[in-house]
């Protein structure tokens, strides 16, 4: 253990305490927005449960901050269940969160499509049902890097999860029923696609070493948010060419209507500075315009990360009037705030 600590170049006390201490920091920084139930390891909206409102619960392994705890608050999530780093949380957490945010209108589980997350949320939904709480589950699976879902666990849930949480959260805040909120969430997932590219690996505190090896002049095209491999390993190239390849892969799969209106989300994976994210956004905006597509809304920043991985993901969502209105609705969380 001591060897790992000496070689681990991270701001940690002990690797096993990182998640809990980070949650304590979140609670200390944002007491006006969230509270943390440390017994159950759940981040709760400060005023949960909100009577008559559908509760939104998400969760997953830690290491993707600000996802999900940073999105707890008005207009987004009611609770987040952080697991250990890159490890799904357990059903007890999800059950405690579900009960804590049930304001009588039912609870929506937003689940990223990973084997562990799906199994644990499934067990939690069964337990909540036993306790008389109405639960709907929505799976996000937007990563176009996974091409052949017959031979894999299916497409991974990545960037669109942030957009689903924002738009479904706004729908719930506006008084939507459980069915209506779930329908919005599913529609966003169906209309959203993502792709990520990594320049370096992440390092989990417990492993203390890079999750994967990558050459100084290489990039992983289609990387997952836990360092899972993508479609191919390539030589690094100019940003314009990387963005063109990413955009091509996403649009080929999304097939938006001619002249469609898009939400463009350029997300940093943790180790890429904002100046580069804006270089990427500049290329993306130009290339989408050349294709006759309108970017009506955008989001640029680090929102669903992979520890210190240098890299970027692009998510495109085909908007409609309702989704655009929901995007503009007020949101007030530690990591996303406007109109409130």
């Amino acid at each position: 253990m001591s060897v790992a600590t000496q070689t681990l170049k991270k701001f940690v006390n002990a690797p096993e305490d990182v998640v809990k201490e980070s949650l304590a920091g979140l609670a200390a920084a944002h007491p006006d927005l969230v509270r943390v139930d440390f017994d159950n390891q759940v981040v709760l909206r400060k005023d949960a449960p909100v009577a008559g409102k559908v509760g939104l619960v998400s969760g997953g392994g830690s290491g993707h901050e600000p996802l999900h705890g940073g999105f707890v608050g008005r207009g987004m999530l009611d609770a987040a269940c952080p697991g250990e780093i890159f490890t799904s949380p357990v059903p007890d957490q999800m059950l405690a969160a579900t009960k804590a945010v049930d304001g009588g209108a039912g609870v929506l589980h937003i689940v990223k499509n990973y084997t562990g997350d799906v199994m644990n949320f499934q067990l939690a939904a069964e337990l909540a049902d036993d306790d008389g709480v109405a639960v709907e589950s929505v799976l996000t699976n937007d990563d176009v890097a996974v091409e052949d879902s017959l031979w894999t666990a299916g497409r991974r849930g990545v960037g669109v999860t942030v957009i689903v949480e924002k738009l479904a959260g706004a729908k719930a805040e506006a008084g939507g029923s459980l069915e209506e909120v779930a329908t919005v969430a599913r529609r966003v997932n169906e209309r959203g696609r993502s792709l990520g590219v990594a320049l370096t690996s992440c390092v989990t505190p417990s492993a203390g070493a890079p999750t994967f090896e990558i050459g100084a002049d290489e990039m992983e095209f289609g990387v997952g948010i836990h360092g899972e491999p993508g479609r191919r390993r390539e030589k690094l190239k100019p940003a314009s060419e990387i963005v063109a390849e990413m955009t091509e892969a996403i649009l080929a799969d999304l097939s938006p209507a001619a002249g469609a209106t898009l939400l463009a989300f350029v997300n940093g994976l943790g180790g890429t500075p904002l100046i580069e994210l804006y270089v990427v956004y500049n290329e993306l905006a130009k290339q989408l315009a050349e294709r006759g597509l309108t970017v009506a809304r955008n989001l640029v920043g680090n929102y669903i990360t992979s520890l210190e991985m240098a890299g970027v993901s692009i998510t495109l969502v085909e908007l409609d009037d309702e989704l655009t209105t929901l995007w503009d609705a007020p949101v007030h969380t530690p990591a996303l705030r406007w109109g409130a």
Binding site: G61, G83, E84, I85, F86, T87, S88, P89, V90, P91, D92, Y114, T115, G116, M119, N120, Q122, L123, V146, D148, W151, T152, A153, R156, T204, S206, A207, A209, T211, G224, H226, G227, E228, P229
Partner: protein, 217 residues
């Protein structure tokens, strides 16, 4: 003694404690295997879960029947492991425990039935089949070998030797396979050449079961 071998709560407790020792000793090895084709947390997760099981055992009454003991251990794994291994091994032990029922002890045939129930639970929850490069590749042949030996008149202890050997063969056989379930599936062909960490921890757990039953006081 042959078919007279019976298994009781003390044996089950030794199995779980032995599994916990193995997970602690093999933690870094399992995590290394997982780093190659997964997300480098399998050893840490299994160690945390089985350590919690040992704590749970200390809280249980000595008169707890073996079936109930396994159900409690399974629930503890579900509550503490996370990832896919928690629900899978938790379900396996809970199903096995429920299959055993409330008796104070059980025989080799009931043990085989219990592990068949465990395998069934794992397959249903994980939707994995043999050859998918998962824990099923070790568990399924082990359960099959156990059933064959027990039906052939072997003692539980002897049948478990065959089961553990079958699990080891299954574990080695995952090396050339391409994963099609779980996180390793994203590697596609790049998962070939690596031993599956879930099949490996399954071997350690079955080895602990074999030892617990053989070393009955």
């Amino acid at each position: 003694m042959g078919g007279l071998t019976r298994v009781d709560s003390a044996t089950m407790a030794r199995w779980l404690e032995g599994s916990a020792v193995a997970m602690r000793e093999q933690r870094d090895y399992l995590t290394q295997l997982d780093a190659a084709i997964g997300d480098a947390d399998h050893g840490t997760n299994m160690d945390r879960g089985f350590a919690s099981v040992v704590t749970k055992l200390e809280e249980l009454d000595d008169s707890t029947p073996p079936g109930k003991l396994l159900v409690a251990a399974g629930s503890t794994l579900v509550s503490t492991v996370g990832g896919a291994s928690g629900p899978l091994w938790g379900t396996a032990l809970r199903r096995a425990g429920r299959s055993i029922g409330d008796g104070e002890s059980f025989d080799g045939a009931a043990l085989a039935t219990a592990l068949e129930a465990a395998l069934d639970g794992v397959v249903k929850l994980g939707a994995a089949r043999p050859g998918d490069k998962t824990m099923v590749d070790a568990l399924e042949p082990a359960v099959r070998a156990l059933r064959e030996r027990v039906d052939g008149g072997a003692s539980a202890a002897d049948a478990l030797v065959a089961a553990r050997e079958a699990a080891e063969d299954g574990m080695h056989a995952t090396v050339p396979l391409q994963a099609s379930k779980g996180r390793a599936s994203y590697l596609g062909e790049r998962s070939i050449g690596h031993q599956d960490p879930g099949a490996t921890s399954t071997v350690f757990i079955l080895r602990a079961l074999e030892q617990a039953v053989r070393e009955r006081p």
